[in-house]
Amino acid sequence: MSAGEATPIGPDAVGGQESTGGWTSALRRRAVRALPPEKLLPDTQPAYMASWIYVFGVLTLAAFLVALASGCVLALKGPAWWHTSGVGHYVNSLHLWSVELFMAFMVIHLWGKFFMAAWRGRRALTWITGAVTFLASIGTAFTGYLIQQNFDSQWIATQAKDGMNAVGSGAYFNVMNFGQMIMWHIVLLPAAVGILIAAHLLLVRRRGIVPPIARPAPDTPPSAAETAPLDSATGIRPDAEPEARS
């Protein structure tokens, strides 16, 4: 392709989204359509969100960030530091207690969302990513207990190996293998939890906070999916919220 035939680039091309080609512009159009900036960073929230039960999601996120930051410090300084120095003990404890709070806040968040039936209104994927994050967090906490380098971790590892061998996964996930467990704990599982949390948050922004049962969602501008053509056979919009179908 010569320079004269190249697709124009620059501000004009970005503004006129339909005129650009390639996977980047297609991805951009799709991303903006799915999550426009006013949804990604909203100025207002529905009035029904004024309840303490809606606070536990962000408390979980805050505790996760503290666990992540303290874990980074532990990784940088090493076990000789966290086992012997006063500051090391403090950061080690900070890591433990932030995780304790993370799990507690997450379970309270889970209770609240369960009793709200928070999967309503096309929020199933939000619910599923939250549930999978919970499972990944249990694995992360478990491998964390395995790498404490004390008698407690030895006890947990020797008990857990029987369970792992009983289900046939001991050869691939060897809880007695310290090197493997520390890599699961500081690389694979935190990455999984972080990516899942990011996806969960973006889905919360996209679908909005779930309204209380028997209360309609606020009059937000309809998304592209909500303005999709009606199903010719049923006369309803396939992906519309149940409340909107009646």
Partner: protein, 60 residues
Amino acid sequence: MPVDPVHTAYAAAVNLNGPGHYLDWGVIQISAANLTVIAVMIVLFILALILPFPKGRGRR
């Protein structure tokens, strides 16, 4: 050292050194620490439902 029941109960609740205290009902067994955490979580959940939330700006 004289045994003070109140002090003993307080120390058992907050002292995490040494072997844990366990409660059991038949096949159900749980440490006092874990049971305390679950109880606190349930209390927090109930309080979150009933306590009024401060009024804020920017809600519709």
